[in-house]
Symmetry: C2
Subunit: 340 residues, 2 copies
DNA sequence: CTGAAAGCGCTTACAG
DNA sequence: CTGAAAGCGCTTACAG
């Protein structure tokens, strides 16, 4: 437990004032070359490291942002957080983690603690489901924030979301491209925002291609589970004119749908091509491996981090919805050995 | 952007010194009742909040710990982090997140930044695979740390790990309990520590019960994937005396094993009971839902957080391996409608 | 180009 | 029980 070396020590040994040491550390131009060299040498020799807490107190910023999530276990939390952390790290900004479990009282407590710690900004994130929310549980006077995978109804701040609409277009266009004509959409629960966006994209693309769009071909599941995918796909396949492709609103739904196809003795993708949404890790392990539309979670996190950092630098914020493009991951469930 | 209210303001308005305000805030006993009341009232009225950065500078602790992980995307990271966050939150300690991607240079940079920020302690965590590591990339003078889901070869600090051995015993005992006699163990790759621990637990339990333990019944996969589970289970089932139960080293392996059982026209659990390890979310969605040994990730995170907080309070640390008990999750793949 | 002084907002002995 | 003083380790005008 040796005494920590401080800026005073460096100054004394280098024979300069601590103001000068500070200037060297902060790379101010107004320091003479040989003085700078001497200070740098002393810093290296003593192994001096500036105390960020003292700096934060004086400089009035802490180079710290926080992620406030209501769902640290959400299936998408990891990749979102990693994106934020990457963006912050690149600017030597640290990230604090706070989990509210969706409890407003917990959120309030976290927010207070975070503000007490003088965080420079906040990312308010849902790891689980995109929905509008009524802003943070506490007003954040002068502290910028952004919504990630979530959006504020009327907050004057940006929301970063996946581009669900164009993601659905990607899937539809891919299925059309491999020659499918009766393309079903096994969509997620109707109450979700993403569900509506994707329906728009899907419908527009199918229409444009002059393909059929019967009511039976577009269904809404009541959950995102494989069980629902199985049930709905079974119903579709037992109809008079079964689809030759099924686009599912999630990889879980697609997993169930594939089981339904195989159970009826049909082949994938020979008889029915199947494509999911999300690109969770299970997709690649399906038999056959599942084609899917990948949610750009990591990129969304980076965008959110970048935007927040810019706002901290003084960039004005406004209410806007930023949609990050999804990416198609083509695997054997749409282009397989037994495929087209 | 109104001026923030400071302790000076409170003191002036309440007509006391700031030392007294500080004592009230820190709940020191040596403040008169009416003075305390007056100060408290003033604090509430002004909405005063103490600046944690200033406090940290003076008090020489920041009530902040950090999680340094090499794998923020690891499949177990979420639950581990959540446990740490829960433990920290309960004591009003914040947690900083740093991801090294397993790159020692990145780890060094993060560590330096974290130390500069005067974190009170660190949790060094792997989100992915348990293995020994050579301690943090930088010496942490006076800053306590613990290993979570990872262990230091000779570091004088605790490591928190799952109790793999007793987890395997749980599984074996369960299968014996439901009347199985030829129990196979489709274990993970031999190079993993967990694999050896589980083999010990499994072997001991089977021996104790006087059940057969032929070489063919114990196999090591070369990865944890469903594909390997499928291949190995198929080999086991085509042998002269196929098993009536398969204990798998991961849920992914078990998924593959179940596919192999079903593909051969056998029933689960009627002909072959299958149980996994981990309790990932996919387990419950299998058909039939997969029984498994749950890794106590959340609890491990809490234990790690609690131990670190104790060390920060001055509790001496030493090299020790703390094993947290796994839990059996019984589902239809061992006790099903077509079961025993 | 360099440094003396003030001060960020607290807490900690210490005196009374 | 209360407060004056010092100081945590920096940075920021400002003077020279």
């Amino acid at each position: 437990m040796s005494e920590r070396v401080t800026m005073r020590d460096v100054a004394a040994i280098a024979g300069v004032s601590s103001a000068t040491v500070s200037k060297v550390i902060n790379e101010r131009p107004d320091v003479g070359a040989e003085v700078r060299a001497r200070v740098l040498e002393t810093i290296a020799r003593l192994g001096y490291r500036p105390n960020a807490v003292a700096r934060g107190l004086r400089a009035r910023h802490t180079d710290t942002i926080a992620i406030l999530t209501d769902d640290l276990e959400g299936i998408f939390t990891n990749a979102l957080m990693r994106g934020v952390e990457d963006a912050a790290s690149a600017y030597d900004v640290s990230v604090l983690l706070a989990n509210s479990y969706g409890d407003p009282e917990k959120e309030r407590r976290h927010l207070r603690r975070l503000l007490d710690r003088q965080v420079d900004g906040l990312i308010i994130m849902s790891g689980n489901r995109v929905r509008p929310r009524s802003g943070p549980a506490l007003p954040l006077p002068g502290t910028p924030y952004v919504f990630l995978y979530e959006y504020g109804a009327a907050e004057p701040v940006p929301s970063i979301l996946p581009d669900d609409r164009s993601g659905a277009e990607l899937a539809a266009r891919h299925l059309i491209g491999i020659g499918r004509r009766r393309i079903a959409f096994l969509n997620g629960p109707a109450s979700w925002d993403a569900t509506r966006e994707r329906l728009d994209g899907f419908t527009a693309t199918i229409r444009e291609a002059g393909l059929p769009l019967e009511p039976g071909l577009v269904q809404h599941a009541s959950s995102w589970s494989p069980e629902d995918g199985f049930a709905l796909a079974t119903a579709m396949l037992t109809g008079p004119e079964p689809p030759d492709a099924i686009f599912c609103g999630s990889d879980d739904l697609a997993t169930g749908a594939m089981a339904a196809v195989l159970e009826r003795g049909l082949t994938i993708p020979g008889d029915v091509a199947v494509i999911g949404f999300d690109d969770r890790s299970l997709a690649v392990h399906q038999r056959p491996p599942l084609s899917t539309v990948a949610l750009p979670l990591h990129e969304m996190g980076k965008v959110a981090g970048g935007l927040l950092l810019a706002a901290i630098q003084g960039e004005p914020q406004r209410h806007e919805i930023i949609r990050v493009s999804c990416e198609l991951r083509i695997r054997a469930s749409t282009i397989g050995p037994d495929g087209a």
